[in-house]
Amino acid sequence: MPIDIASYRRWEGRARPTPLAALGIAGTMIRRRMKLKIVRVIVFVFSVVASGFAALVFYLTLAGRGDPMIQNQIRQFGFENVNLLAILNRLFDSVIGFWAFLLAALVGAPVIAEDRRAHALPLYFSRPIGHLDYVLGKAASAAFFLALLLILPRISMYAMEVAFSEVEGTAWRQMPTLLRSCAAGALGVALFTSISLGVSSLTERPTYAALFLLGFGVLTTGIAHFLAEVLDDRGWLALSPYTCVHRIALHLLPVPIDLSEDTAYLEELGIRTAWFGAGAWILAGIAVLVARVRRVEVVT
């Protein structure tokens, strides 16, 4: 075996800087996840949902081109002269919560648990990478899929409106809506990534981690709504991570009318409480993750 070929030595002793090492981990993890049929199915199903929203934008945008039938339907709903993109983004946020938990359970919850189960951490940490590279790499792989779910559809809705609107300057006019909706999506990505990785670091069984995350989502949402109703205080809604993100998204995308009836109820949750809740959940996920990964390295 030509083990001593000089060309192999050109990288010797040269460790990669942190972002590059993390990207290497993320890239491999994404390719691995895409091999799983269930992930491909979820991504496909969700592309259909996202396409549906994009098609809705396409349909409603055509109204501006003078189709009398569509214009008549819009008039019936009272949507004239309102920001349709913002309304549809709000509708999107109200249907996406469950899917985000499901995807996080599939692509985020197993990532560290399966490494612990396979005792892979000594292999990782015998390379010139640090804890930060490892955690960032794993987080980036989960965040990639969550971004497909939570951010990409918003961009496609925007692109659809820009492409089919007859009104000049739509791209520029709707840019703030796009940025605000993407910021809401990014907050969701950060929240689901940190919670799912935190949960993942607690166990060596990927299935348990996934079930725990789904249970966590159901329980926190159920308890939050129960307490908010029983105690008649909407501040309790902040116990539910996705409710916080949803509330912040509503705040970022204000509209005079809405397609969803739930939003009025959600808007009773104070925006500061929602920011506090979302931030606390993100930090809690990161804290668990950091504490567990540091400890795991010593134990393994």
């Binding site: 083990i3 990288w11 010797e12 399966e114």
Partner: protein
Amino acid sequence: MLTIRNLRKHFGETVALDGVDCEVGAGATGLLGPNGAGKTTLLRILLGLLPAEGEARVMGKDPFREPRDVRARIGYMPESECAIPGLAGVEAVAYLGRLAGMPRRDAFKRAHEVMYFVGLGEERYREASEYSTGMQQRLKLAAALVHDPELLLLDEPTNGLDPKGREEMLTLLRELATEHGKHLLLSSHLLPDVEYVCRNVVMLRLGRIVRQGPITELTSGEAGTYEVRVRGDAARFAAELHALGAESGGAGGDAAPLLVRAEGTAAIFRAAKAAGAQVRGLKAVRRTLENVFLDAVEAPRAD
């Protein structure tokens, strides 16, 4: 290759390393010690995975301050069964090569080569988690070799292998040390493994180094000690040896040779002539690595 000065490591109340001092030079060196002696802890400290008191240098670099630079230049084969889940053998090795800083294309090319080198060429596209214990050990060796490090830290590389697999693994390791110029630090509690692969040895006991040096020196025994087989009156032969100022013990027959401590062999032949005995066998005593190891680990501690 390695310089260690007064290295100390505690896990709570437990002392894992208690003032380790040693120099490990080029070539293959065995790190011997019973379970719990601190071998794995020492390897992890050298990798920069665990903080410790004292000083350590790996190829001139400090593993506490420059852990990445150290790890980029060494290959580590962990003791436990471990794999990157969900990847085929060659993918896992290439992935670990990339994490060591190799470009993607080179990492894959190199991964194929090392998989053939360790004897997994035909199995390289199988998922690594499906490998048998022996194959997992080879895979770990491939992963340690993929970035062509100068120094390999091998933690119990023959763990869980059947006799044939063990022999093949040891042959690979010896080949790496003798033909490919790799420097090895082989941690094991199996003396024959270390004796087969290494020229030097460091013995650890309860976190302290109790012996170190070239195996040939450690096993050379004491000068002037001989094993003698005689035919004739062994008791008279022993008495004649005493008269000549030599010490002896044992029966002296074929089954239990006489152990004689004398300055040179002339006194033995003179005593045999005086006793009317015939010397049928005479050889200088060499100690086995096992003798040295047992003496080292069973001797009471100085403190």
